[in-house]
Symmetry: C2
Subunit: 341 residues, 2 copies
């Protein structure tokens, strides 16, 4: 397990003003307790949710194991692989290895009932498969998730703490998950309120400056099992300092942009999360509907770096290695923050 | 002191063929003993050198202390600073701090006699100042040092081991230094035979992959005192693995391009070093007369990197730091050699 850096601060009854003045500028995660979220905290039972939102089709993830795995995600998209999948599943289950999630579509009411039950009579893979919804815009390539648009009948029950300016709003995402489901460690590029309405969650967070220890693949960490990582495969993970918190129904977790988070639903969970812009609007990629595309200046810098690395390829390996090390030194000198240790 | 990695191999009577087939491809330093260097090894006394090369003006370095310091080099160029320099020198000498070298001009015969004596009756700074010659082309901005051109009467005495193709030849540099003089740790971009004709030297070398621990300023290390480094100021220097060797008169040290070397003249020393091209000619900067400008692809890569870092500056510090770390990860993945541990 990564080094424990400590618990996340828990603060009660924080007003919009106090948050904006004293907490937000620190750029650290914090659990806000006792915020008025509206009637949702008592009203959102499984029956109410399924009756109110009805049989609208939703795209969901189905996972044979609690830890969803983005790495082998593509494996189950095609029916050809599905037959292999069934065979592999036996191997997986018998060896306790963690594998892939499973994207499928269900009517919302059927989905909610399945997510709330532990053993299923109807299922895709197995009677103990896990379900996960992360709501999307109508056309996910163009539209941004907004619970007020996709689930208006439920959105009226929740009062989202708008501790930011209206123009900063980016999206509001409805999230429902089975007990036990674990979402991979990742970062978002927007600031984030994770509003826990129903159920308990455990969230493990990592400071953005620990990125070098998280074995990133894009915005996600390849280390799926954060509590019991494979240290032979991921030796540097030991160096990552983890911050932990428990979320009870009614809690709001502030996750600053770039902070890595791994979310474990300890119970059937219903939540909404709100993303908002920390940087001026023009810094963000206009085509980003998920809030996870790097700011345009960062993408450009990474693209320019790729050209530099392409240029280095003209040299033999020993020279490439040497000048790559000099490049690293230059980046550390010029762009690493001096405010960190 | 840096970690000792071991001694440099010493091999006797290595032929051109053996060197090219078995030694050169390893890209590691090696001391070649018993190579026929011609009559110079017995003929080059102080009297002979000064009589033969005469009173040709040479540009030399004069240092008040054994360790030459490139960091404060500019300090003594102007006469205005010279008065300050005299005052500062007292401070320096009394506090045993290591400081600057002193570029001046002398007739060659006067220079050789001064370099060979320990106490001077005539001097620039102090009676125990140290002298150093690194010969240059006629116009150092355009011409490359070649002992055959600048010191033809001495060049005929030395038989340079041409263990490379004629077209690979870059320069031959005449080097004379006072006993005790220490040349800062630096790398050259050409392959190098350091031919020790008179006197003893100690050479401390570092593998190019230890560049991150050497506190580089361009091609030079800021850690001047390699035997007793200031570890408060240079903590990472501890990680650099040093390779050491002693050179006796008649020895030839092969220093592969990019290998860092620190040269200590234990006695009055006379040597010649030959640089030759390891890479195809077109890889090198056409304006490089010293053999220490980075290969053009490397310079371009570093320039492109600077543009990437400039782009990152559009973002606030915490984002810059984060994406700088991601850039470092990308460089490590793509350009670090996998043949190193």
């Amino acid at each position: 397990m990564a080094r424990a850096a400590g618990a996340v601060a828990r603060l009660s009854g924080v007003s919009r003003e106090r948050f904006r003045q004293d907490i937000y500028p620190l750029r650290e995660p914090v659990v806000l307790k006792g915020i008025d979220l509206g009637i949702c905290t008592t009203k959102w039972t499984v029956d109410y949710l399924s009756q109110t939102a009805g049989d609208k089709e939703v795209k969901i993830h189905v996972s044979p194991v609690p830890q969803m795995d983005f790495l082998s995600k593509n494996f189950v998209y095609s029916p050809v692989h599905l037959s292999h999948f069934v065979i592999d599943l036996q191997v997986i289950k018998s060896s306790f290895r963690v594998l892939f999630d499973f994207p499928r579509t269900l009517p919302f009411d059927v989905f909610v009932r399945r997510a709330a039950e532990v053993k299923h009579t109807e299922y895709f893979i197995s009677e103990d498969e896990k379900y996960y919804l992360r709501s999307l815009g109508e056309d996910p390539r163009k539209d941004i998730a907004d619970i007020r648009k996709q689930f208006p009948s439920l959105a009226k029950d929740i009062q989202i703490p708008e501790y930011f300016e209206k123009e900063q709003f980016f999206s509001s995402v409805f999230r429902i998950s089975s007990a036990g489901l674990q979402l991979w460690t990742h970062y978002d590029i927007m600031d984030n309120f994770l509003i826990q309405v129903v159920g308990k969650k455990r969230v493990v967070l990592y400071n953005p400056r620990d990125a070098p220890y998280l074995y990133l693949s894009g915005t996600k960490s390849e280390v799926l099992n954060v509590d019991n990582p494979d240290l032979e495969k991921y030796p540097l993970f030991m160096k990552a300092r983890c911050y932990e918190c428990s979320l009870e129904a009614g809690d709001v977790l502030f996750i600053p942009a770039l902070w890595f988070h791994n979310v474990i639903s300890e119970e059937f969970g219903v939540g909404v999360n709100v993303f908002w812009k920390h940087l001026p609007s023009e810094c963000y990629d206009k085509t980003d509907t998920y809030g996870n595309k790097d700011p345009t200046a960062a993408s450009r810098a990474l693209q320019i770096l790729d050209r530099a690395l392409k240029t280095l390829e003209e040299l033999p390996e020993e020279y490439q290695d040497f000048y790559a090390r000099r490049m690293v030194l230059r980046i550390q000198e010029r762009a690493f923050s001096s405010s960190y240790e």
